[in-house]
Symmetry: C2
Subunit: 82 residues, 2 copies
């Protein structure tokens, strides 16, 4: 069994209105030294695969087909055996 | 300047309907070997702090007050100098 920790972020060229809203909220709370906030998703997926390579390939597949939007998002992941 | 990578997840005891929906979608797509999915948030925050300790303390503060909901969520973060 493998656990994939998947980090999905908007591409740098894509505007992040949620991140801008968080930045403004933090400034309003007095944290003026916050320069930028980007908001993404963090998924933890348990994959029952035969081996590491099979698990990696499947996670790439699932990211491209469902979990991330490759037009505007990038993803990275770490795989650990559990 | 420090960059904080913040991972916010629902506590294990809290139901994750979004994760369950993703699990069902993956099963429907043929990925029957997915045992569990938990969905969280991933934030990248640029903090202009004087030192590492000040930055760490501020990130803890911001997580508790705004970024995470400590009643139902856990957070962890990594801090790198940039």
């Amino acid at each position: 069994m493998y656990q994939a920790k998947i980090y999905i972020t908007l591409r740098q060229s894509v505007l992040d209105p949620q991140g801008s809203a968080v930045t403004r909220s933090l400034h309003a709370m007095g944290y003026e030294n916050i320069k930028d906030v980007r908001v993404g998703r963090y998924l933890v997926v348990e994959v029952d695969a035969a081996g590491r390579e099979a698990a990696e390939e499947q996670v790439h597949d699932m990211c491209k087909k469902l979990l991330a939007n490759p037009v505007i998002e990038d993803y990275t992941f770490e795989l650990v055996e559990v």
